[in-house]
């Protein structure tokens, strides 16, 4: 029994419940927002260190032995994702202290955020397929509530698509869980991994796997199932868009990685082919979608689709280096995309608009913001020595090593087009002269005071620093991700750690 495996779930649940119990007190809510995510971050660090030292860890909920109860399990992949969740939550919670209106806070912004984190952490840690469904629903409903917070028309329109398509995804997932239980009589991932090889009808098992794939691909916003994302991501307040961009699709990708490295590995000629084609189209369609946009946040939203393609590409290539690349790509994308959303929020504070044609002159008036944007944008576009380059290099190298030439070609082309959109934002919002004229005030009416600025700029600067660090001091990240990649492919060790005799 290792308590650190369960803490990342219990902590945000507790803080979220606490904040709901005393929803009338705004001060408590704000404190919960920060303390909860800080505690989650701390427990994430603890967990990662523990897993790094001791290998796959598990906690058997209710002390029921696996596979009869629910297991929370942490390997390096899970632990890293949990830590990422904590860090992103903390960053956004701090930023929200200034950027969220008191009304948003009164209607439950902080507990919703905590419970979103709880759902995400639960999804990353659970070792049980039905329990995964439950956590996905937790984070999903939390995201529903966050998405409509404020009740503006665009939010409602976006939310209808978001809710419908994600609900369809959940129900496909539920059906797939039921079919799996019907065939294998178990819900535990490790148990399934051990039993899957013994099924006679590979076709039928793979069909169930494909149902899982569709369900998770919708959550991950992969082609051709991504529609909900560009329709909705840009509608809520930016702090919410930012945390969505950091975590939501990541859960889908994580689940894809978990399912198709641990289970459903019997027919790679089908599953990996679908994933590979899907990743190629996802990259291209997303980046082309972004090229067509002229609104700061919409460009970012479409890019999220495109970047998911890279992550799935790593999964489809299925070598330790490629999987490591996927994992680092997830981290990289969360850091950078979140940051870009947060920056778009600051530029909105300054100019009161997200439309590129109405923006301008930020390079002149906000040089610090410009530098932070440039770091994030260039990192997203894969420019060295930033985080984006590292992950691109890993995937390109992994792809070329196993002679997957065309997918590497698409990945590189996508990189160029990403560059194009990022430069478009830079040229329009930062370089171009302010269309309102030279004398226009640098900042909008809502521009916060000095203390508030710290809370806006601090998180952004921290994330930018992280993007630089991942590129420049890359070795620890590399080591971690490659170890995680190797661990993912070592199914037997995972099964042993969960089901083995000494795992009680």
């Amino acid at each position: 029994m290792r308590i650190e495996v369960a803490l990342p779930v219990i902590i945000p649940l507790f803080f979220g419940a606490l904040a709901l119990a005393v929803w009338q007190w705004r001060g408590v809510q704000r404190a919960v927002g920060v303390l909860g995510s800080a505690a989650l971050t701390a427990s994430g660090i603890w967990l990662l260190v523990a897993v790094w030292n001791d290998g796959v860890l598990a906690m058997h909920m209710g002390s029921w032995q696996a596979p009869f109860g629910i297991v929370l399990a942490a390997d390096l992949l899970s632990a890293t994702m949990v830590l990422l969740t904590g860090v992103m939550g903390l960053i956004v919670a701090l930023y929200s202290l200034v950027s969220m209106t008191p009304d948003h806070e009164r209607f439950g912004y902080h507990p919703l955020l905590q419970l979103l984190l709880a759902g995400v952490a639960g999804a990353f840690l659970t070792g049980d397929i039905f329990n995964l469904y439950v956590w996905i629903e937790v984070l999903l409903v939390a995201s529903f509530a966050l998405l409509i917070l404020g009740g503006e028309r665009a939010q409602m329109e976006g939310a209808i698509k978001y809710v419908t398509l994600n609900l369809i995804s959940s129900l496909i997932l539920l059906a797939a869980v039921g079919l799996t239980y019907g065939m294998f009589g178990t819900l535990n991932m490790a148990d399934l991994a051990a039993k899957m090889g013994e099924a006679e009808n590979t076709g039928l098992v793979t069909v169930v796997g494909v149902l899982f794939m569709v369900a998770f691909a919708i959550k991950a916003a992969a082609f051709p199932l991504f529609f909900w994302l560009p329709a909705s991501y840009h509608t809520p307040p930016v702090a919410i868009s930012a945390i969505f961009a950091a975590l939501l699709t990541k859960v889908g990708v994580y689940a894809l990685i978990r399912f198709f490295t641990l289970m459903f590995t019997e027919a790679p000629e089908v599953t990996q082919t679908i994933l590979l084609w899907g990743s190629g189209f996802t990259m291209l369609v997303g980046v082309l979608g972004a090229a067509a946009q002229f609104e700061f946040r919409r460009i970012l939203a479409f890019h999220s689709v495109s970047q998911i393609g890279y992550i799935i590409m790593g999964l489809a290539l299925h070598t330790p280096l490629a999987l490591a690349g996927s994992l680092l790509f997830i981290i990289h994308h969360s850091v950078v995309k979140t940051n870009l959303f947060l920056i778009s929020g600051i530029s909105y504070f300054a100019r009161g608009t997200h439309e590129l044609k109405d923006l301008g002159g930020l390079y002149r008036t906000h040089p610090g913001l410009s530098v932070l944007f440039l770091i994030s944008a260039l990192s997203l576009a894969g420019l060295p020595p930033l985080s984006g380059f590292l992950v691109k290099l890993m995937l390109v190298r992994a792809g070329l090593e196993i002679e997957a030439y065309w997918i590497v070609g698409i990945a590189l082309l996508t990189g160029l087009l990403t560059f194009y959109s990022m430069v478009k934002i830079w040229a329009e919002a930062f370089w171009k002269a302010d269309p309102r004229g030279e004398e226009a005030p640098a900042n909008g009416a809502a521009w916060p005071g000095r203390g508030g600025l710290w809370l806006l700029y601090g998180p952004v600067a921290a994330l930018a620093a992280l993007a630089v660090l991942m590129g420049v001091a890359a070795e620890p990240f590399l080591q971690l991700s490659i170890a995680a990649g190797e661990q993912m492919l070592d199914v037997d060790a995972y099964v042993e750690a969960i089901l083995g005799a000494d795992a009680r």
């Binding site: 629903e137 009740g151 590979t202 199932l225 529609f227 194009y420 890359a474």
Partner: protein, 767 residues
């Protein structure tokens, strides 16, 4: 070494502070850094001239075989010295040229960062490290071209340069990784020293093509040359430094660097030879077509880059010597000429050559240095350019096969045109009648003349005493050729064919200069479509097409209609399921309808009919009522098949749902008939496909159970271990309590969301 390169970035970051502290002398102060670096690199000259190489390495990312490793041999040292040396003058020049500009501090940051990147590029031994610096030069170049960022023209030119070079850079990345994979090493020195040649490797062709895509775009080879003249939107020091002396030569550098390993094949020789020669001619031709002085110089740079590429392709001792000499000579005179052009602009406000003339009195020093540098450009003795040109012609004549005919012809034609270009920039502004200028012409300050003075004079000194340049040039040529060319640099080669061709080009070039205005208007236009318009239009078409296509595909895919999204999602699911069955088989259905009781048939039929009714009715109330029937029917099914808890829960939930629906929906208007019959038929077919597929999948799994269910444990342990006799409830609150915990949070979240939706309307609150 690492320290040297890092120091540049540190100083770059501090440059605005230095600028603020030192004011108008900031250029000189900051130029101390490249000066120190120049001295540092110069200290390697004896070692390298003695035929040794120096390699230094520090760990970085061993996991990806990336390390800070640096290689100093003739080639990299030559480049390092040029970068640092010219850097000294460019920085000091900029301090005065941009004096009073509000962004001068930022300019220093960029130009110094560029310098660091460029040094890293040429010194790196690790190919990934080299690529990293390569990309950094692209981005600093982008920021520098767009320095006057409030002008649309500058932003467009910057974007063009960036897209072309970064696009090529991505190909280069793929090529370099392939090189690493194919050779098994990620260090240039090891790859070059490797015993096995890559010529026979299966990846040779793709990796050469990819690498050349990178180098051709960076070094503005035809048909990618169009971005370079547009990049002249940058301030003059930038043009002099990046787009003439250093960055654009990065591609040349890499080709020269890899020549010993990759060169020597027909593919290599023909590609480089032909593309180089065509670029050379294109540049020369377009140069005499231009009237803006910086464009003229830019195209002559294109010409020089083509020449260098061609020489690398020829790959003979002569060519290697010629390449090394030409490289040095070109950097010296072209750097000088750009700065002098900036000086004329600074002194008169004029950029168009045809509007210039008679400046020799007002700007005597500028005139003198211009003439010297132009003589070197034209390749006249006793200047260093002459030495280079003679060797170049000699090398072209010695090219193998048919190239031995094509290349000399293009080389001579280019030489003729370059003589004219040299006259245009070296003579035209200073002699003849003096027109009216926007500003009263005045000589430039010392900081702006120091560079041209030193660079032009060096061209003269090296011309007269080629032995001074000999050690470095030979060492460079050794790196390019892979072996010592064993040749002496000489001003005078005796009377031979190259000399004759030189004289011919001089005479013909001066004739063209004499009739420049009519040449420009007449035959000069002939080839403009192929040389300038077509490639650039290709780029424009590509970018327009990209924007059009992305808008088109986004309109089609992300069209805003939820029903399209639902349709695509459902059909994708079905298609993937069916494709999997088709590939792997496994759709075996063995079911029997024998053991079904009558009341089960009845209740199932009732639910099915209610569902069909819901789908077709146009009465909202009827729809809700049938929904209730479905819900209660389903709960009956649960009860029939031994699930009382489910039955009760289903009934309660269904009741609540119906209450909610009635509460919420009865205010809405009645259903409208939106869809036409055809759409409905299509939708019915799609729905049937979905339904049939789900039924088939479910039926296929019915008889299949590979392992006994884990619930045997729950049944056995419910009372003994968990003290509960309702096994379902024990599972919910004990065996799988975590599920229930999550479920509770879902409920609570839904309630919070609903509450916020109903009560929190930001728009109302604003008004």
């Amino acid at each position: 070494m690492l320290f040297a390169i890092l120091s540049i970035f540190v100083v770059a970051a501090l440059a605005p502070v230095v600028h603020r502290a030192t004011g108008r002398h900031s250029g000189w102060v900051l130029a101390l850094l490249p000066a120190a670096l120049f001295v540092y690199f110069a200290s390697f000259v004896p070692t390298v001239a003695a035929g040794e190489t120096v390699r230094l390495a520090w760990q970085w990312m061993p996991g990806l075989d990336v390390q800070f490793s640096f290689l100093i041999d003739g080639l990299s040292l030559m480049f390092a010295l040029l970068i640092a040396g010219i850097g000294v003058f460019v920085v000091s020049y900029a301090g005065r040229y941009l004096e009073g500009h509000r962004d001068l501090g930022r300019f220093y940051v960029l130009i110094l960062s560029f310098m660091g990147s460029m040094l890293g590029l040429v010194l790196a031994d690790n190919i990934i490290l080299m690529f990293i610096f390569w990309e950094l030069t692209s981005i600093t170049s982008y920021l520098l071209i767009g320095f006057n960022h409030e002008q649309l023209k500058a932003r467009k030119a910057a974007l063009q340069g960036l897209i072309v070079t970064v696009g090529g850079g991505l190909a280069l990345l793929a090529g370099l990784v392939l090189l690493g994979v194919a050779s098994g090493s990620w260090e240039l020195s090891e790859i070059l020293a490797g015993e096995d040649s890559l010529h026979e490797h299966a990846l040779y062709l793709p990796l050469v093509i990819l690498i050349l895509l990178g180098t051709f775009t960076k070094s503005a080879q035809f048909p990618f040359h169009f971005w370079l003249p547009n990049a002249m939107a940058a301030p003059t020091p930038v043009s002099a430094y990046l787009h003439s002396a250093t960055m654009v030569k990065a591609g040349v550098y890499l080709m020269a660097r890899l020549n010993p390993e990759l060169g020597g094949t027909e593919l290599w020789t023909w590609t480089l030879g032909l593309f180089g020669a065509v670029t050379m001619f294109t540049g020369a031709w377009m140069a005499i077509q231009s009237t803006e002085i910086k464009k003229l110089l830019a195209y002559s740079t294109v010409m020089a880059l083509g020449t260098l590429t061609m020489l690398i392709g020829i790959d003979s001792p002569y060519a290697a010597m010629a390449g090394a000499t030409f490289l040095l000579a070109h950097s010296l005179y072209k750097g000088a000429l750009f700065m002098l052009a900036g000086s004329i602009d600074h002194g008169t406000g004029e950029k168009e050559v045809p509007n210039m003339g008679g400046l020799r009195r007002a700007m005597p020093l500028t005139a003198a240095f211009s003439v010297i540098a132009a003589l070197s450009l034209a390749g006249l003795p006793p200047l260093f350019g002459f030495v280079g040109k003679e060797l170049m012609l000699e090398a072209a004549l010695g090219a193998p096969d048919a190239l031995g005919v094509v290349l000399p012809l293009l080389a001579v034609a280019s030489a003729i045109l370059v003589v004219a270009v040299a006259a245009i920039v070296g003579l035209r502004p200073f002699f003849g009648a003096r027109p009216e200028y926007a500003r009263t012409p005045h000589e430039s300050p010392g900081a702006m003349l120091a560079g041209p003075a030193v660079l032009a004079t060096l061209g003269l000194i090296f011309g007269i005493f080629p032995a001074l340049a000999q050690p470095l040039v030979v060492a460079t040529a050794t790196s390019i050729h892979g072996a010592d060319p064993e040749m002496q640099l000489k001003l005078w080669h005796g009377i031979n064919l190259p000399l004759g061709l030189s004289l011919l080009s001089l005479a013909a070039g001066l004739v063209i200069y004499r009739f420049w205005d009519s040449v420009r208007a007449g035959i000069g236009r002939v080839m403009a479509p192929a040389f300038r318009v077509a490639p650039e239009r290709g780029y424009d078409r590509f970018m327009d097409g990209l924007v059009w296509f992305s808008a088109f595909q986004t309109r089609v895919l992300q069209n805003g209609y939820l029903r399209t999204y639902v349709m695509v999602t459902m059909l994708t699911t079905v298609a993937l399921v069916l494709a999997t069955f088709a590939t792997l088989g496994g759709l075996e259905i063995t079911v029997s309808f024998a053991d079904i009781l009558v009341h089960e048939w009845v209740i199932a039929a009732l639910v099915a009919l209610a569902a069909l009714f819901v789908a077709t009715t146009n009465s909202r109330l009827a729809a809700v009522a049938s929904l209730g029937i479905i819900g209660f029917g389903v709960s009956l099914i649960y009860v029939f098949f031994s699930a009382p808890d489910l039955g009760i829960t289903q009934v309660l939930v269904e009741t609540l749902t119906v209450i909610l629906l009635v509460l919420v929906l009865f205010r809405l208007p009645g259903f409208l008939k939106f869809s036409n019959p055809l759409t409905r038929v299509r939708d019915v077919i799609a729905s049937l496909v979905v339904g049939v597929t789900m039924t088939a999948v479910l039926m296929a799994t019915l008889g299949v159970q590979y392992f006994p269910a884990i619930s045997e444990y729950h049944i056995a342990e419910s009372e003994p271990s968990a003290y509960g006799r309702n096994i379902v409830n024990v599972i919910l609150v004990d065996f799988r309590a975590l599920d229930t915990l999550g479920e509770l949070f879902v409920l609570a979240l839904a309630a919070v969301g609903v509450y916020a939706m109903i009560k929190f309307r930001a728009e109302d609150r604003k008004s």
